[in-house]
C-alpha cells in the first residue's frame, strides 16, 4: 500500500520553528487514479480520456508521445516537481509533429498548493476550495519551487518526500486551511497541457504572519 504523511511547519524570519502540524494525508483524489489509468492503459491521442481540470473544464488527456526515440517519448503526466513563483513549468504534451512542449504558468500551479477552503474532501474535488495565489499582495503567499527529495528503499519500506516553501510577504496574516497537489496531463492532439488536482487535505487553520515561512511536506511511503 501507498500512504502519505502531511507536515506543515511555520518558521519565523530568523529561521526558528514556531509551529509544526503533522497528520496522515487522507486524500488522493479521483484525478490521481485517472492519471494512473491513462498511463497503465496507454490511452491514445485518437481516443483520449476526459478529465476535469482545476478550472472545472473537461480536458481530453492521453499517453501519446511525439514518437519513440524522439525526445525520450516525453510526457508531462503526473509531474509534481516544479520551479517556483511566476516562472514557467515546461510540460511535454506529446504532440507529433508539432511543438510538443508547452509551458504552464505560473509554475505555482504545479506541485504542492495551499488554500483557505474548509469544505470536506470528496474524491471528486477537482481543485482546492480556494487556492492562495502566488504573490506578495494581500492574502497571497510566494511559492518556492516544489522539490522531490530523498528516495530511499529499505525492505519493507520505500519513500520519498515532496516539499514546498511558501513565504508571506503580503504585509498581513495569511491563513492556510487546506493543502493539495496539482499535476499536469497532456493532450497530444491539441499540443496542450492542463492541470489537475491529485490530492487535497484539510489541515485546520495555520496562520502565517507577515515575513514568516511555511514548509509543506508530503512524505510518500510504500510498505510491503
Amino acid at each position: 500500500m501507498l500512504t502519505a504523511r502531511l507536515t506543515l511547519e511555520r518558521f519565523g524570519k530568523d529561521g526558528r520553528l514556531l509551529e509544526k502540524k503533522e497528520q496522515p494525508s487522507r486524500s488522493f483524489l479521483f484525478q490521481f487514479i485517472e492519471l494512473l489509468y491513462v498511463a497503465h492503459a496507454q490511452i491514445t491521442a485518437g481516443a483520449p480520456y476526459p478529465m476535469q481540470d482545476i478550472t472545472d473544464a473537461a480536458r481530453n488527456i492521453d499517453s501519446a508521445t511525439e514518437g519513440a526515440g524522439n525526445y525520450r517519448g516525453a510526457k508531462c503526466n503526473l509531474r509534481i516537481g516544479s520551479p517556483g513563483g511566476l516562472s514557467g513549468a515546461w510540460c511535454w504534451s506529446g504532440a507529433n509533429p508539432a511543438s510538443f512542449v508547452n509551458i504552464i504558468k505560473p509554475s505555482a500551479n504545479v506541485g504542492i498548493v495551499v488554500g483557505s477552503g474548509v469544505g470536506a474532501v470528496v474524491p471528486t474535488n477537482y481543485a482546492l476550495g480556494t487556492k492562495i495565489a502566488h504573490g506578495d499582495g494581500a492574502g497571497e503567499l510566494e511559492y518556492g519551487g516544489c522539490e522531490l527529495i530523498g528516495l530511499t528503499l529499505a525492505d519493507p519500506n520505500g519513500q520519498f518526500t515532496i516539499r514546498r516553501y511558501l513565504t508571506n510577504s503580503s504585509g498581513g496574516n495569511v491563513t492556510v486551511q487546506e493543502v493539495g497537489i496539482y499535476s499536469p496531463g497532456g493532450n497530444g492532439t491539441l499540443d496542450s497541457s492542463f492541470v489537475f488536482a491529485i490530492a487535497r487535505d484539510i489541515t485546520g487553520a495555520v496562520v502565517v504572519a507577515d515575513t514568516e515561512l511555511l514548509r509543506v511536506t508530503y512524505a510518500i511511503q510504500i510498505t510491503v
Binding site: 501507498l2 485517472e34 497503465h40 496507454q42 510526457k75 509531474r79 528503499l153 519500506n157
Partner: protein, 219 residues
Amino acid sequence: MTHEIKAKSALKVIRPEKVKTLLLPGEVGATIELIVKDRNGKITDHRGPMRSRSFVKQFLELLWIQTNQLDEIGPYDVRDTGNVLRAICESGFSFGCNAGAGVVTHGVMVGTGNTAPTINDYVMETLIAHGVAAGQLQYGAVAFGAPASDATTSRFTITRDFSNGSGGAITVNEIGLYVMGYDPNITYYFMTIRDVIGGGIAIPNGQTLTVNYQPQAAI
C-alpha cells in the same frame, strides 16, 4: 495434441455501492479478485476482492521518475524483470501495461512461486509461460475498466484472462503486474506489484482464470 480454450474476455460493470472498500482512508493500493470459470462460463471458484499487499520498489521508482520528470541527462536506474539496471527517464510509456494476447513482457502475470513478497522483488518467482504445454497457460489480452468513484474511493480495473489448455490442472500462487518504462530509445519492463495467494488457486484443464487488479485510492 493442441487444446483450444474458447473463452472471451469480459468486463462486468459493478455498481460502486456494491464494491467492498478494502482500503483504509488515505491508502492508495489495489485489490485483487480471482474468478475461475469452466468452458460454459460457470464460475467454479471465486476469491476476493481482497487487498493487494505489495507495491514493490519499481512502482515507487517509476513514480519518482515521472513526478520528477527525470530526463535522459539525469535518468534513474531501475531493475528490470531481467535483473538488469536500466537508466529510465520520464515518458508517456511509463506504467503502460496494455499487453496483447500471448504477450508476457507486460500486463498482469501469474506464477507458481509462493515465497512472500519483499519490496526488492523485481520479477515473478516462477512465471507461468504462455502456451498449451504442460504447466502453461494461455495469456489473454489485458483489458481495462475506466475509472469510477463513489463517496470514498476512486478506482479503475486491469483485467486479464488465463486459459488452461495444458491437459492438466495448474495452481497459481503468485500474481503480479509488469509495466513499461523507457530510456530515450528502448522500452523495458518492470514489476510494480507482486502478491502471493494463500493456498493458491487451482485452474483445472479447460477452465479460465480471470484476474481483476483494481488500483484505488480511499479518502
